[in-house]
Symmetry: C2
């Protein structure tokens, strides 16, 4: 089966190879040809499955959003604690840097791709659902300040952690630090 043609599931293999490569060298240094080589196929094989480079990254982002939604949903259903959803948010970001990086960098992907939109919407829904309970005000504003605050806090923590802006003390146990921080957020 491992003949030259018909890899079996090249699409999957290419996504995995891309995630691997991004994990090692970041999105900036990502090369489609290197991804192809990693998967053992010719340099133009990715284009056949994904159209172009952004297409491949779009698939990575969509997969990321789906796994992200799974993780958040799981924690929300298990604990019913929105703060724990926040912890899961940063845990996902740190454990899946490659996916996370692509998910929140719109210029890398085809933002209008239906698969991507669907997966991203799933993630958004989980966050909204959790936030609804605590948010009583804000209908006049057109947005929910408490939800925005929680999202910003958690997302900022994740980005700063990933970018290496935090001290070793914080990075020694990021989840503990986030729990400490989340206590500063009061909804009344």
């Amino acid at each position: 089966m491992n003949t030259a043609y018909h890899h079996g599931d090249l699409r999957r293999a290419l996504i995995d190879a891309a995630v691997e490569a991004i994990g090692e060298t970041g999105t900036g240094a990502l090369s489609l040809r290197a991804v192809a080589k990693r998967a053992g196929v010719s340099h133009a094989a990715p284009a056949h499955h994904f159209g172009d480079k952004a297409g491949l990254l779009t698939a990575v982002a969509a997969e990321g959003f789906d796994r992200f939604a799974d993780a958040l949903e799981g924690v929300w259903e298990a604990t019913g604690d929105f703060a724990e959803v926040g912890v899961a948010y940063v845990r996902f970001a740190i454990d899946n840097r490659a996916h996370f990086e692509v998910m929140f960098r719109p210029e890398l992907t085809h933002q209008d791709d239906p698969e991507l939109r669907r997966a991203a919407a799933r993630s958004g829904a989980v966050l909204d659902r959790g936030a609804d309970r605590t948010d009583t005000e804000g209908d006049a504003l057109g947005y929910r300040p408490a939800a925005l605050a929680a999202w910003s806090l958690v997302h900022g923590f994740a980005e700063l952690a990933i970018a290496g802006n935090f001290s070793p003390e914080v990075m020694a146990d990021p989840e503990a630090a986030l729990r400490e921080i989340a206590r500063k957020l009061r909804f009344d």
Copy 2:
């Protein structure tokens, strides 16, 4: 003076051209040769001043951190209100997307560049100074939860706003939204 050689202040012109180009197409699509063309010089001229592409972006980041520190310091000295420093943080991010993007993407720059380190340290100092007042706990932890919370909240808001993740209602007046959100943060 505007002869082929000795542009006058090509270094400046190249930084400006880079910021312009990033503002139009993002860091991903930034081309050193396009920057050179924009400044009216040969394709290898940037390398002479900055060594390589990361060198140019390092200069952009350093300039960004200096202006950032100026802006934050100005607001802090004028108002003494740390929440207003936060507003200035996101205003800078939105008004200077190109600089901001490069400042917080370490893989784009030479992280060990002394100029960059100095400028980044300046920004850090302003944020620390403002946070000190409100932060009484945390010495045992090795970090200050209140300061971390404020930084995460503000940085996350800025990143999400820039990446286009917020609704039109929020983006209609981001500063108002941030002020609303910041009220959720209580230090006691």
